[in-house]
């Protein structure tokens, strides 16, 4: 957590407003003095770095990371399709891992670094051009999920072979059936990255 967050009155007793240095201290106080449960609701204040920009947000416990990125931050590249972890269209890269934002609680993401399709496009990543060149989309709804997953793969493995690409993208569904184009596009992006690197 950022230092200024710790200054926020995180550890105030909700019953009598007594202040405590630590959450544990507050807890002991609530139990001992007010003899009550449930424990006071912890603060939903989180800090996220999304595409290089830092955001401080107050989130409700039940908000998913998808809701925060799409609805609150307005980054509409992250798409909701199944909302059950079964399609990959809501994929974002969090601390290097391609994860499903629909199955992640935002309140558990304090301090995380996140990349979305918007950030990948802004950075001029060759995946964007190669996806266009290879007609890797029809309706395009699933595409940001594929792009983020492919980017996470290339970050880890800059020279994947076709089967490694298919395996990495195996959690992304496309209703339009664009599957055969994706390995081609990712292979081309990998080649471009390598050329850029050797220049």
């Amino acid at each position: 957590m950022n230092a200024d967050f710790q200054q926020t009155p995180n550890n105030l007793c909700p019953y009598c407003s007594a202040a405590f240095e630590t959450f544990d201290g507050l807890k002991a106080h609530v139990v001992a003095v007010h003899k009550t449960e449930p424990l006071p609701k912890p603060d939903g204040l989180i800090q996220l770095t999304v595409n290089g920009q830092s955001h401080k947000l107050l989130v409700a416990p039940e908000w998913t990371l998808y809701q925060v990125i799409h609805d609150k931050l307005g980054l509409t590249g992250v798409k909701m399709f199944c909302d059950r972890g079964a399609c990959g269209s809501c994929t974002v890269i969090m601390d290097g891992r391609p994860i499903l934002s629909c199955m992640t609680l935002a309140i558990e993401c304090d301090g995380k670094t996140i990349e979305t399709a918007e950030g990948i496009a802004e950075a001029g990543h060759p995946l964007i051009d190669s996806y266009v060149n290879h007609h890797t989309m029809q309706c395009g709804y699933c595409t940001p999920g594929f792009i983020t997953t492919a980017k996470a793969l290339l970050d880890r493995n800059p020279e994947p072979n076709e089967s490694e690409i298919m395996q990495a993208l195996a959690g992304n569904l496309c209703r339009c059936g664009t599957y055969p184009q994706h390995p081609k596009a990712v292979l081309e992006a990998a080649r471009t990255l390598k050329e850029e690197h050797s220049k």
């Binding site: 959450f23 544990d24 807890k27 449960e37 449930p38 424990l39 609701k41 912890p42 939903g44 409700a60 416990p61 039940e62 998913t64 909302d83 059950r84 972890g85 079964a86 990959g88 994929t91 891992r97 391609p98 994860i99 499903l100 199955m103 992640t104 609680l105 309140i107 558990e108 304090d110 997953t149 395996q167 990495a168 993208l169 195996a170 959690g171 569904l173």
Partner: protein
């Protein structure tokens, strides 16, 4: 999702204390890939009042080789297990099982503890808004027994002989075949004894008990292990039948064998008969076939799942052969 209290626990003691205060009204959340689906669909008769996040506790995500045992922290992600060189080399069944579970994204999120603690997937039980308040939710009847039971148990039911929902985990049979134990905040349990079939529970854990670590003995001698999963699609789908085996061969004969099926019974199903059939034998097509046959000798399929018996037989055979 409806709301709940949420705690990012910082220590295991804190997590246990919060769980203790809420009794059975709170749930642990690890990767969340199983739990959040249940909350979104509101399948539970009692919506949890609080979630206790344990990902905020540091130092629970590791794979270590310590004197003859492999230790895996409860929060280790399935993907990290699947690609770990030591796991791939010495505990092949576990690497395979972790690498075949769910989808790549879910493996980046889902933890090993969450995988063995996950809930059943019976489609009546999981139907949104608690549409089928069945035996497993404390209700009066099982809907699968008269309904569509193509993915249900071929080895009988429980909860007063009524629930036929299979245990869906891919890693559980591998951990059982590898003779793993699980450590919790209260005790150490052999993985085989970890599962239970109760109303709203699939494990023997108390409401305030948390899995902390797995320990797998280094296989004696040169035991080989393997895992095979049959599912409708290669990824995302749960197993229709899966199987893990660990087999030690000495002087060309099978000296010891552990074979475990899952997704075929209400708990992971150790195929003791298959083990007995191959111990002392040479491992070849015909002995493996006989082991497959023995594995299903006690099967009692329901009206829609007879095909699973054939699948189980052939998968036991192939898994055993792959251990050689």
């Amino acid at each position: 999702m409806r709301s709940f209290e949420h705690f990012n626990a910082r220590t295991m003691e804190e997590a246990v204390a919060i769980l203790g205060r809420y009794g059975d009204r709170a749930r642990v959340i690890a990767g969340g890939t199983d739990l959040l689906g249940k909350l979104k669909d509101e399948i539970l008769p009692k919506y949890p009042e609080a979630l206790v996040n344990i990902k905020s506790i540091s130092g629970m995500d590791y794979i270590r080789e310590d004197n003859d045992v492999l230790k895996i922290g409860a929060l280790t992600r399935l993907e990290d297990i699947a690609v770990h060189p030591a796991v791939k080399q010495h505990f092949g069944a576990l690497a395979e099982a972790a690498g075949r579970a769910a989808s790549p994204h879910l493996r980046e999120m889902g933890t090993l503890a969450g995988n063995i603690c996950q809930d059943i997937r019976c489609w009546y039980y999981r139907y949104p808004n608690n549409r089928f308040p069945c035996l497993r939710k404390g209700g009066g009847r099982c809907y699968a027994i008269e309904g569509d039971n193509r993915y249900h148990s071929i080895f009988g039911g429980t909860v007063d002989d009524g629930c036929y929902a299979v245990h869906p985990s891919d890693t559980a049979p591998a951990l059982i075949a590898l003779d793993a134990v699980v450590r919790t905040t209260k005790r150490t349990i052999p993985l085989e004894d970890f599962f239970d079939v109760k109303v709203s529970a699939t494990t023997v854990l108390d409401p305030d008990e948390i899995v902390t670590e797995f320990e797998i003995p280094q296989s004696p001698g040169k035991a080989g292990s393997h895992f095979i999963k049959f599912a409708l699609r290669k990824t995302i789908d749960f197993a229709v039948v899966n199987c893990a085996a660990m087999i030690l061969i000495e002087e060309r004969k099978v000296a010891s064998a552990r074979v475990c099926l899952n997704a075929v019974a209400v708990k992971p199903y150790r195929a003791v008969k298959a083990e007995q059939a191959i111990i002392g034998q040479e491992l070849n097509e015909s002995t493996a076939e006989a082991a497959g046959e023995s594995a299903i000798s006690q099967a009692t399929p329901l009206k829609d799942n007879g095909y699973m018996v054939q699948l189980a037989k052939i998968i036991v055979k192939r898994t055993i052969l792959a251990c050689a």
